[in-house]
Symmetry: C2
Subunit: 347 residues, 2 copies
DNA sequence: TTGTAGGCGTTATCAC
DNA sequence: GTGATAACGCCTACAA
């Protein structure tokens, strides 16, 4: 039974042209069409031409679902990120997605909101799609996630963190060292009463690593670590709360390291209101280098994570593991990236 | 031939437990397992229990790819957005993805960088995944995209724009009216020499609609429209260039509408350097209400698009069309959202 | 270089 | 309420 296009009428089908329709029109075997699409070198020029015409005539779009099922490995790659809309991760997603789509892979995205339980759900959901690879954020996961990732037998990349001797491919940086970097910078500038303001989001474990780096440097110099934990939920409010608590006291902080630039934004706004001058009264170092960080008054001295680079390199490492490309040795060793301290007005 | 788990050894397979493995362990037919997962009401309590146990024992994760192939409609939804990392669209993505995943759908994401050709590529790639629905940004597409969307016979949603009498489901707002809104606001404040600064990104067609709205209001009042087109690529630079050109002249602009807040950020920084006082010397209205907009000095009067709402409502409309949920009539009519003018210091 | 047979894991269809 | 069977559209394996 044929419909008006000469296609066989299917009981269930999607209605779209299939590889068989193309093959019939081009008068070749379907497998030749498949080869034409995947390994064009193996198909003769003559058949290639006929096939190309048939594809165009039928508006054929290969069914990736069927292909994925047949090859038991789909051309999707899942990515779990704490926060899609956060200023910090968007660049990683963007560059990841861009490089990926150039190689015919699609990005499946989910957000965990810094909850490792939500991350587990996302990973579980992704696995149902037989992804070619998975990308997660950070090194801290639930036991179940660890196990899912281990048994998935696909490339797994951890971004936004770095820990030697871990199984997954790492493309990130050491948060601990970022904490050290910030503390040393301030110490070297002569500050001694240096405080650290934690993130208001409890699930942000990486921020605790940065705190630990700060603590280590303080102890190195026999200074007492001074940690402030905001009890506000909103980042701006937390920042305000922190700077008030740390500066409006008898022995105020000379310098403050904030867990991220969002907190700083709140702090700086509060400072403008109270005429707190930075860095004269209090120096500030943030983390993240968000778009706004250079626009604040004072502009913000902060540590810039290699967000875009992580996305790019993660993709390259994945594509290499999948045999899609071969990358230089240089790239293959780029597990551990570094953050740059951007010196501006606030410290 | 069975392996150690009692599963039949497959020549190709993924190695994961299949619905058949579950069925065998639970001693039921595979279709009953399928029903247990999709329509639990139709399965007796006794079998349900056995199946649940088997699923847990085997760590069974349904293969969505196979399911998608069999049902010719996968549980993925594709979304094309101009810019993932842009401050403006991220909220739409986030809320869209969140509601979606609550209903068991996955988000496929691609960015167009304001190029309708890239959008076409993305749509084509998405269609290969038999998505349950597609979301695109804006109402301007290539002919081919229009055709792809029309023949896909799946729900299509256009966000971030609104145009009556278009075929796709619309969840957005009128950029033309936003342009009018900004112009009227400034006119009502007494400004007459009002200029409009276009976006430096040529592909941002919606920004031209905003410009047209501004032009219309100016002509309404018999004022001469004054449009500045930056020739810089970078938004901050464009903003600086624009404010310099529009204010450092004999008859400077009294007020400026910028195509977006990124441009304004550059302009305000330039103004701080030249001691241009806003709004005294020049009032400014932006568009987007980015995170930084309230932090600038002066804080920015701007028009806030309903980014999060668009994502949420788009998802609801899609899920409703797919028969997943039923929404109130109220929501069903929410095609046209409105933008709020946020009054701050700059105008 | 090209083709044939059969499987990938699930669901639609129909029968009991 | 439950199950057998046949698609779904492509790809791997093997053959010619």
């Amino acid at each position: 039974m044929r419909d008006q296009n000469g296609n066989s009428r299917k009981r269930r089908g999607s209605g779209r042209a299939t590889i068989h329709d193309v093959a019939r029109l081009a008068e070749v075997g379907s497998i030749t069409v498949s080869r034409f699409l995947k390994q064009p070198d193996l198909v003769s020029a003559e058949l290639s031409l006929r096939i190309a015409k048939a594809i165009a005539a039928l508006h054929y779009v290969p069914n990736m679902v069927a292909g994925g099922l047949a090859s038991t490995r789909g051309r999707v790659i899942g990515m779990v990120i704490p926060n899609i809309s956060g200023p910090i991760f968007a660049n990683t997603i963007q560059s990841f997605s861009d490089v990926l789509s150039q190689h015919g892979y699609q990005l499946l995205l989910a957000s965990s909101y810094f909850s490792i339980e939500q991350e587990e759900n996302a990973v579980r959901a992704f696995l149902g799609w037989s992804p070619a690879a998975l990308v997660v954020t950070g090194q801290y996961h639930t036991k179940a996630t660890e196990q899912l990732l281990a048994t998935a037998s696909i490339p797994v990349v951890e971004t936004w963190d770095y820990q030697p001797r871990r199984k997954p491919i790492q493309v990130g940086f050491s948060h601990y060292e970022v904490g050290q970097q910030a503390a040393r910078y301030l110490y070297d500038k002569g500050y001694r009463r240096i405080a650290f303001v934690q993130n208001s989001i409890a699930g942000d474990i990486s921020a605790l690593d940065r705190r630990d780096g700060y603590v280590a440097v303080m102890q190195e110099h026999r200074l007492k670590p001074w940690i402030f934990i905001p009890n506000e939920a909103a980042p701006f409010e937390s920042g305000k709360q922190a700077i008030d608590a740390l500066t409006m006291r008898k022995h105020p902080a000379e310098a403050i390291i904030f867990a991220n630039d969002n907190l700083v934004a709140g702090a700086i706004l509060a400072g403008q209101r109270t005429n707190l001058r930075m860095p004269e009264h209090c120096a500030i170092v943030g983390f993240g280098d968000y778009a706004m960080s250079s626009l604040l008054l004072p502009s913000l001295t902060t540590i810039r994570p290699p967000a875009k680079e992580m996305g790019e390199i993660a993709t390259l490492r994945i594509l290499e593991t999948l045999g899609e490309i071969s990358v230089e040795k240089k790239v293959r060793r780029l597990n551990r990236l570094t953050c740059e301290l951007i010196q501006r007005e606030s410290a």
